[in-house]
């Protein structure tokens, strides 16, 4: 009933499962041990689930020159995504995955997280019953734990044998993904070579126009515009913060106060300065942005429920057009829906993105409200439980190539494109008229296949899509795409060297980081909501800095400095 007893129940179930599975594993070994030695080396558990693996006993016996050709024999892979929210459609029911199943003989068996990813993975770990592929956040604590315990398969040996990873994921990126032991265990998802992201400022077109479209370029303009909105539109939130606990407006604001500043630093709670990471609490830019935000808050120019509202409440306000300015790390998500709803009633209404706001005197072309990394979003890894890691890799390598990416993004040949033509050595789909005519069908298909994009190749798909859409007339492009092309993708800062700065959660630095995190969250809320002057903000941040140092912040910063330089070395930047 209560949390504690639940947790106890969880622990005990885990313990019970652990003992149970050991017993079961023992039985399984006895049953299958016809002639092969019942050693615990290769995965006896998952072998039973996969199809025809005759020579499983002598795993690495295949000749090195022999590459595995996808489609030459059926390949069955168990896939698990380590996310609560993840729930993909069954493989083979839509036209794209059916094509892959029919033509490449790949079947994906999906293991659901049941809305409780951590518990699910823990159970699988404790029971040593792992899927073949796991999709993680980059730097996930569980990933590191599994690697250290020899549960993941390194893929270095296969890269040169197969075409796509070698071609599309540059050496520097692969180096960055390497683990401490020098081996590569992960395949990045949505890796890219140019800016992506949807962070930035959105305005309500109708309100803006009715107020005479005043200049909206600097933080001062923003302040006076918000005051005007508050006066003229009492029911409207002048500046919507989204969920302040996640940063959002506050992080976007940070970028307005310094040229080339990356709000990734705020997320990392570490400000790089002269080659070392320093306290974010003492970062002048952070302080200046928090003072400005606190002033907006005090004068009721921004969301007053910034820390207590829910995502649904934010969405409701935006969809009702009750927001004049909105800043967020993913600003187009709700604004896209709001735009569709509002413009349906009144073509003048809706939302649009504006060029980033900056402190007066700063160059607005050097302001980056969001960041992106060449590594993209998350990663997929192959576990040692898979009967033959090379086969799994061969699939992933094909999966990130132009053929698979085209099938996932635009359906199998004959749907929205007909054939490949060669563009600079890359097979590129030739789109047909369905691409524009059947936009809804395409969007519906992508809504399904997006769940299958585990090592998405944004280098290929963004270029293909961009090249093609640039040939289309303006009205045939969708709202989000044009916001992205015109502003968002031109104003995101590159932050690849700042990835993976997080210490493992159960390490010494990780425990200290958790303590700092607590202080951070409280100090940010207090600086925003409990202050009457700039001096109050300084006082709260001074105290937060002191408290953080007491719980070991310096060690965390040192750790991050070290990691940061490792990244820079891997990328050849130093």
């Amino acid at each position: 009933m209560t949390g504690m007893s639940k947790k106890k129940a969880m622990l005990t179930t885990a313990a019970a499962l652990l003992t149970l599975t050991t017993v079961l594993a023992g039985c399984g070994g006895g049953n299958s041990g016809n002639s092969s030695s019942p050693s615990s080396t290769s995965s006896s558990s998952s072998a039973s689930g996969s199809t025809e693996t005759p020579s499983n006993g002598e795993a690495p016996a295949t000749p090195v020159s022999d590459i595995f050709e996808l489609g030459s024999e059926p390949l069955n892979l168990k896939f698990y995504a380590h996310y609560d929210w993840f729930s993909m459609a069954p493989w083979g029911q839509d036209i794209s995955s059916k094509w892959i199943k029919d033509n490449k003989k790949v079947n994906i068996e999906y293991i659901p997280s049941g809305n409780n990813a951590q518990q699910k993975l823990n159970t699988m770990l404790a029971g040593k019953d792992l899927p073949d592929l796991i999709w993680f956040n980059r730097g996930a604590a569980e990933f590191e734990m599994m690697r250290k315990n020899d549960m993941l398969a390194p893929i270095d040996d296969y890269i040169d044998k197969y075409p796509n990873m070698k071609k599309w994921v540059p050496e520097e990126l692969r180096n960055m993904l390497r683990s401490e032991d020098g081996k590569l265990y992960q395949f990045p998802n949505w890796y890219t070579n140019k800016p992506v992201g949807n962070a930035g400022w959105i305005i309500n077109k109708k309100i803006y126009k009715e107020l005479g479209s005043p200049k909206l370029e600097t933080t001062e303009d923003l302040y006076s515009y918000a005051k005007l909105v508050k006066e003229k539109y009492p029911g409207v939130t002048p500046i919507e913060s989204d969920l302040a606990i996640d940063g959002q407006l506050l992080d976007v604001l940070y970028s307005a106060f310094e040229e080339n500043a990356l709000n990734r630093w705020v997320g990392d709670r570490a400000r790089p300065k002269d080659g070392v990471m320093t306290s974010i609490f003492n970062d002048p830019t952070y302080r200046e942005s928090m003072k400005f935000a606190a002033q907006l808050y005090r004068e009721k120019l921004m969301t007053q429920d910034a820390f207590s509202q829910t995502r649904d409440q934010v969405k409701e306000k935006i969809l009702n057009g009750e927001v004049a300015v909105y800043a967020s790390i993913n600003a187009t998500e709700f604004a896209r829906e709001g735009q569709a709803l509002l413009s349906a009633q009144d073509p003048e209404a809706g939302y649009e993105m504006i060029w980033p706001i900056a402190k007066p005197g700063l160059d607005r072309n050097k302001i980056f409200p969001g960041t992106y990394t060449y590594l993209g979003w998350n990663i997929i890894t192959i576990t040692k439980s898979t009967p033959d890691p090379e086969k799994a890799f061969a699939f992933l390598d094909w999966f990130t190539g132009p053929e698979a990416q085209s099938v996932l993004m635009w359906g199998p040949p004959g749907e929205f494109w007909d054939e490949f033509k060669d563009v600079d050595g890359v097979p590129t789909p030739v789109f047909n008229e369905n691409y524009v005519k059947k936009q809804k069908e395409l969007v519906d298909l992508q809504a399904i296949t997006t769940w299958y994009t585990w090592n998405g190749n944004a280098v290929f798909t963004d270029k293909t899509k961009g090249d093609y859409e640039s040939t289309l007339p303006e009205q045939d492009r969708n709202w989000e795409t044009s916001q992205q092309y015109n502003i968002a993708w031109r104003t995101q800062g590159e932050a690849t060297e700042f990835v993976n700065l997080e210490p493992a959660k159960d390490s010494d630095e990780g425990i200290k980081q958790t303590a700092v995190e607590d202080i951070w969250d409280k100090s940010r809320a207090e600086a925003l909501m409990n202050t009457k002057s700039d001096a109050d903000v300084d006082r709260i941040l001074d105290k937060a800095h002191e408290d953080a140092m007491k719980v070991g912040y310096q060690d965390v910063l040192d750790f991050k400095t070290k990691k940061w330089h490792e990244n820079r070395k891997a990328m050849g930047r130093e």
Binding site: M4, K8, A16, Q304, E322, D547
Partner: protein
């Protein structure tokens, strides 16, 4: 209840005779066996899990291979700067829940008992216990939108009544958090918790009321001199259980209502602390240590409460 205790005491004092007695009642003992086995397997066997608190538990290495570390995790907790704050919040919140939340359903039961109109009584009963079945996620959603600044109904009401000029951000103000939390809890649980007291009241011998009426006792007198004393044994037993639960200040309700970090100074209780610092960060041993600490105190409180109750003749054991 008391009779039962006395009887078992007599039995155990019989000493060696007990074995013979058990053998004689073997059919009955056989019937008890499945229940005992159930309790043993699911309640006692897993208890070795508390040893996790004295180890550096590693999920992959497993329980046996994780190293012993003694009281390290307990020390880490007691020395943590948050320890005092978390303990204070736990005691204050559960204290408020006990002193206000425990009598509330009794009062409701007494009031409902006086309602003459049967249909109305049933109706109120049903309406008041329905919220118990709504999950905290939804209740927290209601509360947060009712108390919000933009279109929050409470703020609109207070403004229309001219009680406040500007809307207040209730869920960002530490001074209101305990009130909001306790109110929400009472609203949610009062109806359901009153059922058992209503049942106890229904069991009171009606002739006592008739006699009291003949003697000229008013309705209030009847309530205080007949109803309340008659249900006292039930009240005391539930009170002992509630005291044993004193360190159990709640979890989901707090986690969902206190999203604003500004509230953590007043909202952080043992369970939410364990969740945020322990479970979310894979520090299972640390989490277990705090859980064990809490369990030990809870058992002590329970025994203590029972000891006192026994003096007044209606204890649990």
């Amino acid at each position: 209840m008391t009779q039962l205790t006395i009887q078992t005491k007599k039995n155990s004092s019989a000493g060696a005779g007990i074995v013979i007695r058990i053998i004689r009642q073997w059919q009955m003992q056989l019937m008890v066996l499945p229940a005992l086995a159930l309790i043993f397997v699911f309640n006692y066997l897993p208890m070795y899990g508390v040893l996790t608190a004295f180890k550096d538990y590693n999920l992959i290495k497993g329980f046996n291979a994780s190293p012993w570390v003694g009281f390290k995790h307990f020390e880490a907790f007691f020395e943590s700067p948050d320890f005092l704050k978390v303990m204070r919040n736990t005691l204050v919140i559960s204290g408020l829940k006990f002193f206000i939340g425990f009598p509330a359903p009794i009062v409701l039961a007494l009031m409902l008992n006086e309602v003459r109109h049967r249909f109305f009584k049933r109706f109120v009963q049903s309406v008041s216990y329905l919220p118990y079945f709504i999950s905290w996620v939804i209740v927290a959603g209601f509360i947060s939108s009712m108390l919000s600044i933009d279109n929050g109904s409470v703020n609109i009401l207070l403004q229309k009544l001219k009680l406040i000029d500007e809307p207040l951000s209730f869920l960002s103000m530490p001074q209101y958090f305990w009130t909001i939390l306790i109110t929400a809890n009472i609203w949610k649980d009062i109806g359901f918790n009153s059922i058992v007291f209503l049942a106890a009241i229904a069991g009171i011998d009606q002739t006592m009321y008739e006699a009291a009426e003949v003697d000229g006792a008013s309705k209030f007198k009847q309530m205080f001199l007949i109803t309340l004393p008659s249900i006292m044994p039930v009240v005391i037993i539930f009170m002992i259980l509630a005291i044993g639960n004193l360190l159990n200040a709640g979890f989901e309700d707090i986690l969902l209502l206190a999203k604003n970090p500004i509230l953590w100074n007043v909202s952080d209780v043992l369970d939410t602390y364990v969740f945020r610092i322990g479970i979310e960060n894979l520090r299972y041993s640390f989490a277990t240590a705090i859980g064990l600490f809490r369990a030990v105190i809870s058992v002590a409180l329970l025994v203590f409460a029972n000891l006192i109750a026994r003096r007044y003749g209606s204890s649990l054991w």
